[in-house]
Amino acid sequence: MSIWDTAGQEKYRSMNRNFYAGSHGVILCFDLTKHVEESDVMDWVNEIDNNIDKECFRMIIGTKCDAVLPTSTTSDTLKNICAVLSISYLETSALTGKNVKETFDMLVAEIERRQEDYKLRCASSVLYNRNNSVVSLADGVYTSDASGPNKAAKSGTCC
């Protein structure tokens, strides 16, 4: 597993696209001790959505939760957006270690689940062999069907 820590400066934003393209999971960090506008979050989410694979798991975390002031509204803003967009959200603290391990637990579990789903989708699909007959992979056994592509098209193809 590789974890990429990207540069936060605005001027490196375009360069970072090269890093997170092809990621299996993206963690978007926001500082809970700073004020965050909803539009700022949406800008990031749109930026990610435009540059990652649709299978990529997105997650938003609030950092420095040990130092949040009672009057801070950042947490509520992030929670609301995550609820609307169905994005996983956790509040973490690197200082106390709160939810750090849980973040990666959740991330890895979800990535594993998506990988299993992907394998199942492929296994239940049909492929063609060189003779243009259908090869079923559903049971792990190749069964040839000479009816050709029309029948297979109705069954769907692999991904």
């Binding site: 597993m1 990429w4 963690i27 500082d31 750090v100 973040t103 594993e112 992907y118 394998k119």
Partner: protein, 70 residues
Amino acid sequence: MKESIVQPESHGNDLFKVKITVLGELGNGKSSFISAFAAIADNEKLGDLSEALKSTKLNLGKSQQASIHS
């Protein structure tokens, strides 16, 4: 061209090919968050994380990429 989440030929050690990217603005605590995870991964048995992460060592490299080596 975007990569798909799993390459068709991948098998048992899929988790070792997983790439996770941490994003956010300057000073948001990204590096601290990763360092905290590195410390946990180095010093604890992570039973819940995954079997593949057990007995591994995480190092932070100069290229700002942290890798877990078996």
